[in-house]
Amino acid sequence: MPAHETFYEVMRRHGVTRRSFLKFCSLTAAGLGLGPEFAGKIAHALETKPRTPVVWLHGLECTCCTESFIRSGNPLAGDVVLSMISLDYDDTIMAAAGHQAEEILEQTIEKYDGQFILACEGNPPLNEDGMYCIQAGRPYVEKLRHMADHCKAIIAWGSCASWGCVQAARPNPTQATPIHKVILDKPVIKVPGCPPIAEVMTGVITYMLAFDRLPPLDRQGRPQMFYGQRLHDKCYRRPHFDAGQFVEKFDDEGARKGYCLYKVGCKGPTTYNACSTIEWNGGLSWPVKSGHGCLGCAEDNFWDKGSFYSPVTNLGVTGNVESTADTIGGTLAAAAAIGVAAHAAASVVAKATGKKKTQPREEVSNG
């Protein structure tokens, strides 16, 4: 593996034609929301820049991010980026195993100290000194910290690495912790979703490799170009929401007519992701298009918010009781009304008895 091989050379070596390469550059530019002139800039960068190595680590996760990534809707993008990164380390899809595989990590640190991108799928469990996730004989959290010390930037793939996801669900026995709460001294780019959309993943990684800098991030550390708006803002069923046309239950007339799924729990209005624009599996479909509401899988704590089928969800403040804001608040307001009525009655009684007490009571004391 020559140290100064460019992306373009790697791609050519993997049998990608120049025509296909240029198509990839223009599609990526479009995917990133850049102007037409950027296709040329991306091509130029990939032709001239030495390849930035990527190390892909796996903590507590289900590998759905990798599954999504290798199914990138634009097959070329997937092949190309996959070819580029599989050269280093990804324990799911690389050829090496055992000690050979672990040696690659040390070699990467030696050759590219402070240069490589650390892509993290899944998160480290911190409880019991990290013993709930052991890789190559030591806790994953140690491996993560070791690699993070030498990397340039971290991509937190998926909701596990970004927010914690289901393994961090209450009561979180392994204390699974998102990357940004473990690695505090390196930039962490969150690419949430369970899994993230394949084109979003390839888009983010291509941006970083081609432009040699982090994509613009929002307050939460997510790339703005893919997480700048909610599903709701670009949803093709939005007109039905505004009109007040809702699916009341699955298989009713509204469901057949493709009305808004908000009342059956669609979390599109609170979920930042690109599903409603890029869609899934090469633009084939996405949850709302298939007639089911969004679960909000790209959002923090979506796993502990109670029902996926109600717009009013659990607050997570009442322990194991599945109470929504409406049940807690409604009970409180009803209790206030009952309490007020009882207090009013008691006040009237107290006033009546109070008047009696002020009357002279000599005969009682004499008796």
Partner: protein, 238 residues
């Protein structure tokens, strides 16, 4: 005010006194109306009305409910800040909304006296010109703290529609740094509505009760601003 005077000394708890100035009273009723509209429209944003049939382009029900909610929210927020301004320049009863004298021993002793009185543990009813300490504390908790919470979470949720870089996002986007889950912010905003309903139920009861059972008027003071004491006895009965 021909029939009322401005309170002179600490012993002045007789006759009629002008306590609540015009801006305070106007704000009170605008605030009450805004909360009513916000609570109802907000409830229907969380739990929409039955589905409308026909062409989507023929109706704009949810859009209008949201428009009403956002408009009332602007009234609520602007009114709140005008009222805060009046708490700075207004009379001592206007200042009471923001400045709760928790550093004064008398505040706490009178607060516990009110709690005892409402718990029927004492029959001694004291007179007050403005709010009693319990009422003042409740005003601060619900109409300063909770109201600001609703303004911040509300505009943060509003910024989701107006988008990154909008004024709502620049001023209130920090809410999502504290609580990254916008669904959670929605639910806290909804619970805040219910807390406000709780306050309104108790508030209306207390005012009506005061009208009939306390030693001063309760309802009319927020209409003409005049506190009417029902007896000329000492402020604190023995």
């Amino acid at each position: 005010m021909a029939t009322s005077r401005v309170a002179t000394g600490s012993e002045d708890y007789t006759g009629n006194l002008y306590v609540f100035e015009v801006p305070v009273r106007i704000w009170h009723w605008i605030h009450a109306l805004a909360i009513t509209v916000l609570a109802i429209s907000g409830y229907f944003i969380a739990n929409p009305l039955p589905s409308v049939s026909g062409e989507a382009s023929d109706s704009f029900l949810m859009g209008n409910i949201r428009l009403i909610h956002f408009s009332a929210a602007m009234v609520f927020a602007v009114g709140l800040f005008v009222r805060f301004y009046w708490a700075i320049v207004g009379n001592r009863y206007a200042k009471g909304l923001l400045v709760v004298p928790v550093w004064r021993g008398e505040f706490w002793s009178r607060l516990f006296h009110e709690l005892k009185m409402y718990s029927f543990l004492t029959r001694k009813v004291a007179k007050y010109r403005g709010h009693n300490p319990l009422a003042q504390l409740a005003m601060w908790l619900f109409n300063v703290l909770l109201a600001l919470f609703m303004v911040c979470t509300g505009f943060a949720l509003y910024s989701q529609g107006t988008g990154a870089g909008s004024w709502a996002d620049r001023w209130f986007g920090w809410v999502f740094v504290i609580e990254p889950s916008s669904q959670a912010v929605r639910m806290w905003h909804l619970l805040g509505m219910w807390l406000m309903v709780f306050f309104i139920v108790v508030h209306i009861y207390m005012v009506v009760r005061a009208e009939f059972m306390s030693r001063q008027n309760g309802i009319s003071v927020m209409i003409d601003g005049i506190r009417r004491f029902k007896d000329d006895g000492p402020r604190d009965p023995r």
